[in-house]
Symmetry: C2
Subunit: 157 residues, 2 copies
DNA sequence: TTTGCATGGTTGTATAATACAACTATATTT
DNA sequence: AAATATAGTTGTATTATACAACCATGCAAA
């Protein structure tokens, strides 16, 4: 009986396993820097870039259920890193912005992360770097497109 | 005040966010096929390939603490998909092998997964496929190398 | 050979992440 | 005005997971 997948799928499986291993840090409960988890930094960073953001936008970014978003955001508000205001256009919605403290912490964690990113960069051949990053973007996009139809990876909205 | 990372790090951050999003399926508690979660399939598949495996080898594969491995493996034994035997060379160690049922389920889930993988494959340009997969392998390797020194992503042993 | 340390694994306990369902309040459509 | 949809929160339950303590066996050094 054939219990193995074909080579091509074995290759893909190995890549998924690898991705699962290296993204473990992203879902680790322990704060990796300045008392902020990776998930929380994702929120801070997204808001730093967009200046302000609604909670509904975060669901997609974090790929979690909306109640989970609330619970990830709350501690950041309690720590005074985020401030929430009513959105002008829609009084149901909450707009999140960084406080001064939030900006400071975001910067500190960015530095901490920069050290890690630098190490990663040092471990890939410099001449191939743009192609490698582009390849990963393509791959991630491919998974997102495929996942929509598959319950195993259905994208949450 | 500069709260943004430089472009290069922003690029990497986006990639980590993307990876975090698409690997969500790998840690979803819900079984995606045949009552088996992705994590559990990782175990079945690894054993299918190596024929037999010790629990200690699984810690690294799954990148989890050893007690977690025990708890991931147990339900598979209870469902009769895995059998454990004492290792010959070391009577402390447990050797895991697939049962007939385990092989059957492994194959079924493989098929289910193959459908997903096929969709992914269809979403990447065929001529670039080998380079893309290779690029990802390099990237994953780079992260693993870097992570060793960084508490944020320290590899568990 | 005995003593002490290392290794493979399990179990107790606690916590974090997370989903789902039910709910409130506001918008939008009919 | 009524029905439906959307933004967000809270109650509740479950899963994943770690850490520490533990047992048993193996190995190395005294």
């Amino acid at each position: 009986m054939q219990t193995r997948m074909n080579n091509q799928n074995t290759e893909l499986m190995e890549i998924f396993v690898g991705m699962s291993q290296v993204t473990r840090c992203c879902r680790q409960d322990v704060a990796f820097c300045e008392g902020v988890t990776f998930h929380q930094f994702m929120i801070l960073d997204a808001i730093a870039i967009k200046k302000e953001m609604q909670i509904s936008e975060l669901h997609k970014l974090l790929a979690v259920e909306k109640s989970t978003t609330t619970r990830l955001v709350n501690p950041l508000i309690q720590k005074g890193l985020l401030k929430r205001e009513k959105a002008q256009h829609d009084s149901r919605a909450a707009t999140l912005i960084l406080t001064a403290d939030g900006k400071k912490i975001h910067q500190k964690v960015s530095l901490c992360l920069a050290g890690f990113f630098q190490k990663v960069t040092q471990n890939i051949p410099q001449d191939k770097k743009p192609q490698i990053l582009e390849a990963i973007r393509i791959f991630i996009g491919a998974i997102k497109n495929s996942a929509a139809d598959y319950s195993c990876c259905k994208s949450r909205v």
